[in-house]
């Protein structure tokens, strides 16, 4: 070769080498960039593509009564399930699908939809598994093809239930009869269980199902996640303390194949149960109250309070519902039934009722505090009181009557006169001081804020009319625009019992420290002797001559006040029976308010006849449980009675 040509050739070769080096450098740079700089990003992408996270909700905490008895717990819900991602199941799906296709071809038929055929083959395979389970446990369940497809689309990693709610014996039969490697497995999830069914249904509340809350600090947040449904409190304590009761969600991270089916687990965190809550409810008292309302199939509400701690011992509202019917979810039938019976509302804290005669106690206190009457003031009752052109009736002709007897006999005329002498401003002020115009701040959700203590200004702004003496007379006996809740009336009874104004009742059991931290009650402002006169009047109410004879309990002195209030409706009046009271009289421990709604319009519904017996059920249960509070003097008196 010519040396010039060689040189020329070599220079071209150098150019080629140079280009080769540049291209190789580019290639290696790219490789370097991809392998080292972008490695983390690739690893993440690979992880996101190949890993899936499954979240399992932690069981909710239990609700316990004040003695530690379980009011709400979790019950295992056992199901027979099939893991659709299992190799065995996948292979069964595939084989069945292939045999169906082959059959079609052999018959010379055209396949309309391959996807539909796939759905059908899956249903057939699961039905064969289900038939075996049906044979073992004697059921006759069938699979739903569209449900299987929906499950595969939404939650392919979660097990597909073919039989729900297995009984203990069905669970045992399947465990022993199904081989360990069977595609059908026994699976457990949890549901709320209410051992006392409808007892304290409104106070305890129920839960609903919701998407599981995913916290940002949980591992695998970047991964595609499949979650079982979680629960949230929809009412009552379940709602109020939802955050405390919620369990800690468990998580599993799985490696999946390209079809998204599980291959092997990488990481597992167990779910944890939420915290238990001890309530102030005493289930013995609660059941005693419920039994009373059950007996007469009454509607209404009852609240019993521990006067010393302001803890709610019993709270019921009727009509009610079996809480177990709401678990694990509320079916349309159950929802329609509860709605039709108007049983959703907790009347103890949301029901607004005129207080009726128990309000006479506030009229008396207002009159006493305003100096318009004293404990010995006597008025003449001639059966009615004339104000202007209107006659305000009394239940009887009581003649000359003093405060104690007026309370005992529930004399309307006496309190018309006291109210008129005291004036609406003092009456309103006293009712407001007794906190009848504001929510009690009980630790339950949805307490009404619509309770009303009328005043001159309220009437003027509402109707544009001035306040008339007739309005005062009505208000004096707890009628008119006044509305309160049964819980407020129980608080009123507690306040009168101790000559102090109590607020903020609680449904949680209080520790000794919590009790010490409570803000002290305000004084009611009655001198001891005058307070005693009111209590004496209330004591006489629950005596053989009083209006609440049905609330008499042997061995205990009970002070009370009955009442009958009317709700005016277009079709007629609906009467309400009230009883409020406390016991024992000398050392009050328990306060109670019972309300029973009239069952028919224009039906006479006296508090002594209908509400007092309801209170007695609870009081009897209380003193049976705490005999140390029995009135020893009364016990001795009863013991010393000589029989004729």
């Amino acid at each position: 070769m010519n040396p010039d040509n060689t040189k020329k050739y070599q220079s071209r070769l150098w150019i080629f080498y140079g280009l080769l080096i540049i291209l190789l450098s580019l290639l290696y740079s790219g490789l370097f960039y991809r392998q080292l700089i972008e490695s983390e990003s690739h690893a993440n992408r690979e992880k996101i593509q190949n890993q899936r996270r499954i979240l399992t909700p932690g069981p909710r905490g239990n609700l316990l009564d004040r003695d530690g008895r379980v009011l709400v717990s979790n019950w295992p819900k056992f199901s027979a399930v099939v893991f659709l991602s299992d190799d065995l199941v996948q292979s069964a799906f595939h084989n069945h699908y292939r045999s169906l296709v082959r059959d079609y071809r052999e018959r010379g038929e055209k396949i309309e939809s391959y996807s539909q055929l796939r759905v059908h083959s899956r249903a057939m395979v699961l039905q064969s598994y289900l038939s075996e389970v049906n044979r073992l446990i004697g059921r006759q369940e069938e699979v739903d093809a569209s449900d299987i497809s929906r499950h595969l689309y939404v939650n392919p990693l979660l097990p597909y239930p073919i039989v729900n709610n297995l009984t203990a014996s069905e669970f045992a039969v399947l465990l022993e009869s199904l081989p360990v490697e069977s595609p059908v497995q026994v699976y457990v999830s949890n549901m709320r269980h209410y051992p006392y069914e409808n007892a304290a249904a409104h106070a305890l509340g129920y839960v609903g199902q919701s998407p599981l809350e995913v916290k940002s600090d949980m591992p695998g947040n970047e991964l595609k996640t499949f979650a079982s449904k979680g629960t949230y409190g929809r009412n009552g304590i379940e709602k109020q303390f939802d955050q405390v009761l919620q369990g800690k969600t468990g998580s599993e991270i799985w490696v999946v194949d390209p079809s998204g089916y599980q291959v092997e687990p990488i990481r597992q965190t167990y779910p944890e149960k939420g915290k238990d809550i001890t309530l102030s409810i005493d289930i013995d008292l609660q059941l005693a109250g419920e039994s009373g309302y059950d007996l007469y199939k009454d509607k209404g509400a009852l609240v019993a309070i521990d006067i010393n701690s302001m803890e709610i011992l019993a709270m019921l509202s009727r009509p009610d519902y079996d809480l177990n019917a709401t678990s694990p979810f509320i079916s349309n039938i159950v929802f329609a039934d509860i709605s039709e019976r108007k049983a959703w509302e907790n009347k103890a804290i949301r029901g607004l009722y005129p207080p009726g005669s128990p309000f006479k106690l506030i009229t008396a206190i207002a009159g006493l505090k305003a100096g318009k009457i004293d404990a010995s003031t006597v008025f003449e009752c001639d059966g009615a009181h004339q104000i202007g052109g209107r006659r305000f009736p009394c239940m009887g002709r009581h003649g000359e009557i003093d405060l104690r007897t007026a309370i005992e006999k529930s004399c309307n005329e006496y309190f018309y006169r006291v109210g008129l002498a005291t004036g609406v401003d003092n009456l309103s002020q006293e009712a407001i001081y007794m906190r009848l115009n504001a929510p009690t701040q009980v630790d339950l959700p949805n307490e009404t804020r619509s309770m009303l203590t009328p005043s001159r200004d309220w009437k003027k702004s509402r109707t544009g009319e001035p306040w008339y003496p007739g309005d005062t007379a009505n208000m004096s006996i707890g009628q008119g625009a006044l509305t309160v809740t049964p819980l407020q009336m129980a608080m009123l009874a507690a306040s009168i019992a101790k000559n102090q104004v109590y607020s903020s009742p609680t449904i949680l059991k209080q520790s000794a420290t919590q009790l010490l931290r409570r803000s002290p009650p305000q004084p009611l402002g009655l001198p001891v002797d005058i307070h005693k006169a009111i209590v004496e009047g209330m004591d006489r109410v629950v005596s053989p001559t009083g209006t609440a004879r049905a609330a008499i309990i042997e061995g205990v002195s009970v002070a009370g006040k009955t009442g009958t209030a009317q709700i005016n409706k277009a079709e007629g009046n609906l009467e309400l029976a009230w009883f409020i009271g406390f016991a024992p009289v000398d050392d009050p421990q328990i306060a109670i308010a019972a309300l029973v709604e009239g069952q028919e319009l224009n039906q006479s519904f006296g508090g002594g006849t209908y509400a007092a017996p309801m209170a007695r059920y609870v009081l009897e249960a209380y003193f049976k449980k705490y005999p140390e509070y029995l009135d020893t003097a009364k016990e001795e008196a009863i013991a010393n009675v000589s029989l004729p």
Partner: protein
């Protein structure tokens, strides 16, 4: 050279050919061959066990008179104890029948016992099983529960004419519903093999969260009787430890099984009298 090389590969070629041939052999032929293998193997295993028993017999013959006298005394003791227990059992059975008729309860399932000698014991990481010297000719049904003086042994997993295979409690393919003594909530039991130099173990699932383990007096695990295979109240083992379960609602536990499971020589197969065969 090439010829020699090919000659050397001949065994591999034969092996591959046999493997391919085996793949295409019909299932029924394979199944028959497998059964036949067991049936031919059974007399050999049974003969071996008879020989072992003969050995034991001659070993016993070599014992001194005083040793035999002591053994005879112990045996008399045991016989007396068993006589007493038989009487007690009879009295209890009558009491149970009386209570059942009084309460209108359905009578408990009745079983007959088929005593069988253990031919072989196989313990490996794949399975734990016993071969017993009774088979379909002796009325042994598939799936029947097998027991011994210390409680449950397992269940029959294969039945041949003269022998049967018993899947042991410690086998990880054996699962049953069990209860804790004094508590009627069913839990799941599954065999979990042997811990090195220790007793066989099992795993309990769905143990209620209110159950705790006192190591000095561990809870006793019994058959629940709800599953329809095992009668209720048979001893399984003791619950020795607990840990939180994956559902958060239950605990998982470890059950220590009877150490005697690994050296059984004789067992009893329970044959249901109600159905003739267990499920």
């Amino acid at each position: 050279m090439l010829k020699k090389r090919l000659f050397n590969k001949k065994p591999f070629a034969v092996l591959i050919a046999v493997a391919i041939f085996w793949i295409f052999v019909p299932f029924i032929v394979k199944s028959t061959l497998r059964s036949a293998f067991y049936e031919f193997q059974a007399p050999i295993s049974a003969s071996a066990s008879y020989v072992r028993e003969l050995q034991n017999f001659w070993a016993a013959r070599s014992k001194s008179k005083s040793e035999l006298y002591e053994a005879g005394k112990d045996l008399a003791h045991l016989n007396a104890t068993y006589e007493l227990m038989i009487l007690e059992n009879q009295a209890m059975r009558e009491e149970i029948s009386r209570l059942e008729s009084l309460l209108g309860l359905p009578s408990r399932p009745e079983y007959k016992y088929e005593i069988a000698r253990v031919v072989t014991r196989e313990f490996n990481s794949w399975w734990h099983q016993l071969e017993i010297r009774k088979g379909s000719l002796h009325g042994i049904p598939m799936g029947a529960p097998v027991v011994f003086a210390g409680g449950v042994v397992g269940r029959i997993s294969e039945v041949h004419q003269y022998t049967s295979t018993v899947e042991l409690l410690s086998n990880n393919h054996l699962r049953m519903a069990v209860i804790i003594e004094g508590d009627n909530r069913p839990m799941s039991f599954r065999g979990a093999g042997f811990r090195l130099f220790r007793s066989p173990i099992g795993i309990a699932q769905y143990v209620p969260t209110d159950i705790a383990v006192d190591s000095s007096n561990p809870p006793r695990i019994l058959t629940s009787g709800m599953g329809g295979v095992f009668p209720a109240g048979l001893h399984i083992g003791h619950l020795v430890s607990l840990k939180p379960g994956s559902s958060g609602m239950f605990q998982d536990g470890e059950i220590r099984l009877e150490p005697r499971l690994s050296n059984l020589t004789e067992v009893a197969v329970l044959i249901s009298l109600d159905e003739g065969t267990a499920q």
